[in-house]
Subunit: 344 residues, 2 copies
DNA sequence: TATTAGCACTCCTATTTGATGAGTGCTAAC
DNA sequence: GTTAGCACTCATCAAATAGGAGTGCTAATA
């Protein structure tokens, strides 16, 4: 970091900012005019030569201007980005009806974010692992089907239909319901362990096998922990020529469409370290191979009680980091409010 | 149709089949050798000239071979396609776990179909409008929230959380449950009309306002009738050069990602006319503007009792119609079985 | 010593040119 | 009615060419 003098830093900053705008390699003459350093292009050339040797910029080919390397971007993001608190005004299109199902809210968030940033976006459903069981109910659907309804603290409702050999009588159903609720309510998923289960089976007496089936279904349902991922704006990548060739575009869009790989961005991002909850992956820093020519910025949004999700933006390396990080910060604070009301 | 003699038809057939394979304009010499007509290229040329005048084929430019026009493709699909009952063997990769939630099954179907055809695919959730209410249950979630669970005949479960001013006592809850079930069970959505509703409110007595809220919620939930559309294999279009340029690819993928426009393919397809339930849109025949360079083949799958959905394949005009239509026919019959088991 | 002007050099990009070849349309002969 | 022959068109490709942006180096300058 200190290997750079103040002047070199200014020049690097200028190079990167110019490149972010134009996407073209930037030459010494441009910098000479762009900055207020009042230096001739020749001097700039010397400095640029140094910067290249230090690995902050690279030349796509001899006699071309310079473009930032991953290291350059990294330096820019870490040290040069002024986190001027973005005018919040232009982010107010994040007014989202929060009466809808969560699924729709998340889709809408992804879409809005994609439209306002012109990058591809992703958002995951929140992880409820720390969430507690609030209410369980078994009902006799018909002679050989049982319906289990499970409600978690955050009002997330899950259903499971359980096939049955023969119908349960009313009394048994009642007993099971009481048993399930009294035992499981208030427990989070990791807290439902073998001991709890065997104790329940014991108490169920004649119906222990049914309890077994039900418990299996319940735990299966709960631990499904389906990390839903929603993406939007995949086609925005066509706005950036450096990502638009068939090969790259196809791979990238495929990754966004198939989604599983995106999950790797989540776990990393949830292990938040800095204060902001914002992570930036530049080029090969990303765990996803097909995104080596992209930058990915992820943020963690947190609802109540450790219920966390991830929202991310995928764009070219020369993305507008300032705007993106501002948008994400803004969004994550807003998301908090959106989920206050009951939703499925 | 009868404007074409037998020989012209044979030549048109040969042109189209050759073009489907190669994607290149096909010349008179190729046809002269390819067919068993034993005609010289010169004769073929004359015939091709006629075919062009009649609008079945076009020349991309002077001194290029001919490619089929939309009219040509249409003729091919309507008259030349031998519906040889495809060897079913190679379609057996449609083994799908049917224990999963329907949403996942549909996603999986779309994915599998995309992989096996190398085209983009879409599938809609089935329309349950003709489906009947099987079971309704209200439960007291906590002091000011009611949980409504509605199960339809096909075991589709819906939940709705209803905010409440003050808790209901147990007896009232019981009465409401009985009332709801006895009145609504067995009714399909269109059958729940104003008369039914006002009658229910009457019977509810003191709780008529609560019944109102519940009914609103129920009907809202039921009529949500969200036509979910799932797509897959969007990036397959990059396998066809004629669709791969940035502009077209971007528009197409956007349409597939945003999905609403795809709904227009559904309503049309549901108004089935031919016996097969398979519809083919060639180029501009499609209601979707961005698909003017594509062909779209849709099929209607029908579960029990008028519960219908649409599955479709989007590819280049020179798609393998035989294979595609075979796959769809095969798939729609198989889908029938897949949903037999309970699913959410 | 740091800066700058000047210049040769590199190499990307766009444009031109010409050769090639596939394919056609037409005419005349079979 | 069919075919051979031939002139013509036009996309495609490769090589050649010119232009220009930008560099690195050297020598002069403050």
């Amino acid at each position: 970091m200190d290997e750079l003098g103040e002047r070199k830093i200014k020049i690097l900053d200028a190079i990167i900012r110019t490149y972010l705008e134009t996407g073209e390699p930037v030459g010494s003459r441009t910098i000479s005019k762009y900055t207020d350093l009042n230096l001739s292009s020749a001097t700039i050339r010397n400095e640029m030569s140094d910067l290249e040797e230090l690995g902050y910029i690279v030349q796509p080919h001899t006699s071309a201007g310079r473009i930032p390397s991953d290291k350059g971007y990294r330096f820019y993001v870490d040290h040069l980005l002024k986190n001027k608190d973005k005018e919040i005004s232009d982010m107010k299109d994040f007014v989202i009806e929060h009466t809808e199902r969560m699924e729709n809210v998340l889709k809408q968030v992804a879409r809005t974010l994609a439209q306002s940033t012109n990058y591809a976006t992703m958002i995951t459903s929140p992880k409820y692992s720390a969430n507690k069981v609030k209410f369980i109910q078994l009902s006799q659907l018909d002679d050989n089907q049982l319906l289990a309804v499970i409600v978690m603290e955050a009002n997330v409702v899950k259903n499971k239909i359980i096939p049955l050999e023969e119908p349960l009588d009313n009394e048994a159903l009642l007993r099971l319901n009481v048993l399930l609720n009294s035992t499981l309510n208030g427990l989070s998923i990791p807290e439902i362990n073998l001991a709890t289960i065997s104790k329940m089976k014991e108490q169920a007496g004649d119906y222990s096998d049914i309890v077994g089936i039900v418990l299996d279904a319940v735990s299966e349902t709960l631990s499904q922990e389906e990390l839903e991922i929603y993406t939007s704006g995949a086609t925005n990548i066509f706005k950036y020529p450096e990502l638009s060739d068939s090969q790259k575009a196809s791979e990238l869009i495929y990754t966004l469409e198939e989604k599983q790989q995106l999950a790797t961005l989540v776990s990393d991002s949830l292990s938040d370290e800095a204060g902001t909850g914002i992570q930036v992956y530049i080029g090969n820093e990303s765990p996803i191979q097909t995104m080596k020519d992209c930058s990915v910025v992820t943020a963690t949004y947190e609802l109540s009680q450790g219920v966390k999700g991830t929202v991310g933006i995928i764009g070219p390396k020369r993305m507008d980091y300032e705007k993106v990080m501002g948008s994400l910060k803004e969004l994550t604070t807003q998301l908090d409010g959106i989920f206050k009301k009951p939703s499925q």
